[in-house]
Symmetry: D2
Subunit: 137 residues, 4 copies
């Protein structure tokens, strides 16, 4: 079961070539990652500030398949590809208003304590959340 969220490409998201500046897609991935928590009863801010659990990226990659343009509403599908002991792999697939795929990529996040900034095992409640969205790549 995948999770989906949408966002609107903004006037300032484009670069001089008049297409979305590619680092913005990683920001779009992160927006969908935040929504993944927020929309399923685990507010991302509370995860960090109350549960003291952070998810820094240790690896990120993406393939860009067609340009995206300002004014478009993009839909990002979030799936989980792997849940390890202290890290997890998320997969993001971004589609344009016509359903055509704009880009896709994976981000590996470590689970850290927001007190020590050191790695720690993924807490059970987040493990359960991630596992609900687990699917093979």
């Amino acid at each position: 079961m995948a999770f989906e969220s949408t966002l609107k490409v903004r006037f300032g998201d484009e670069d001089h070539a008049r297409i979305v500046y590619y680092p913005r897609f990683f920001h779009f991935f992160h927006c969908a990652f935040e929504d993944f928590f927020d929309a399923q009863g685990f507010p991302y801010r509370a995860c960090l500030d109350d549960d003291r659990v952070g998810w820094p990226a240790v690896h990120a990659e993406a393939d860009f398949e067609r340009p995206a343009r300002f004014g478009e509403t993009l839909t990002t599908r979030v799936a989980v590809r792997r849940v390890g002991g202290k890290s997890a792999t998320f997969h993001f697939e971004v589609r344009g208003p016509d359903g055509e795929r704009v880009c896709h990529g994976t981000v590996v996040v470590a689970c850290i304590s927001m007190d020590s900034y050191r790695g720690q095992p993924i807490p059970d409640k987040y493990r359960a959340l991630f596992e609900r969205h687990l699917e093979e790549g």
Copy 2:
């Protein structure tokens, strides 16, 4: 005596109209504000983290006089217009490679404690720094 710093306009700083997206100029003001501290022996990070003194903007305004474009090196002149008890007014003037003025504006910053996030009197060392750059508007 004014302070100057430079920065290069980047590919991603432009928007769909192929000129610098106007909110970026306020970012450019902030870059010059950081450089103002860093270059004069008061590292901005140490100000916040060690001295526990922060400078949130309470008012900001700017006039945009001609577009700026990616690839240009801009020079920002920083002056201080007013040093109050718990706030100060900075003036920023941004010029293009030809010396022509691109924009100018003022930002009023409050002095706060980074522990309580409440207003506090400007510490003497920062007051002295600001007063060295005081000039009439």
Copy 3:
């Protein structure tokens, strides 16, 4: 009659002080400005690319009243304060989830031809749109 749009403050919108980096509020103003066109049947992209009409900011100012934080949904109210021959003044008021005002400000936009990048009279259809939202300051 005012127009309203909402947006969610993102993880990356905060700065080292853990509050929204103030230049982002001008970006939030612009997002609401885009929505103002899009939601009322005048897609902002078509305005620029098809009608060849652009709206660069010539002046922008804002007062920041309380910090905003990531995870909050902000509501921006857009009103028009003045419709001139070749420029217009927009007013933005941003409120937090509790209805408390976070910041407010005005942006003066010039009307330009996207072909010549020179000022031009505001076309009738946009003048009518703006006048529907005109209110005294």
Copy 4:
């Protein structure tokens, strides 16, 4: 022979976790990519606007090895890993003030015509530039 450029991490580059927001590293890669052209006699803007040659990313990936923090000056080393017919692979390595590696990654760029936005063979002058920096991965 590798190329190097530097940049300063800014106050607004950090996120709520008080480390550089990871999508910013891809922006840092792009800054170094622009500098690579600019500093070697091939201004990036002229490449796009005069030569009508663009370099959109078709794939990007990075490993993040230690956090970067605002106030740090980062040095990015740019090398070329492959020069194909219509695309090239760049490698970026970002180091902190202590010389320790912060992150590294690769970006595959396509060569396109800025008139048609379609792929085209890499022009000789850019091929020669890239080949001067070719090294094995």
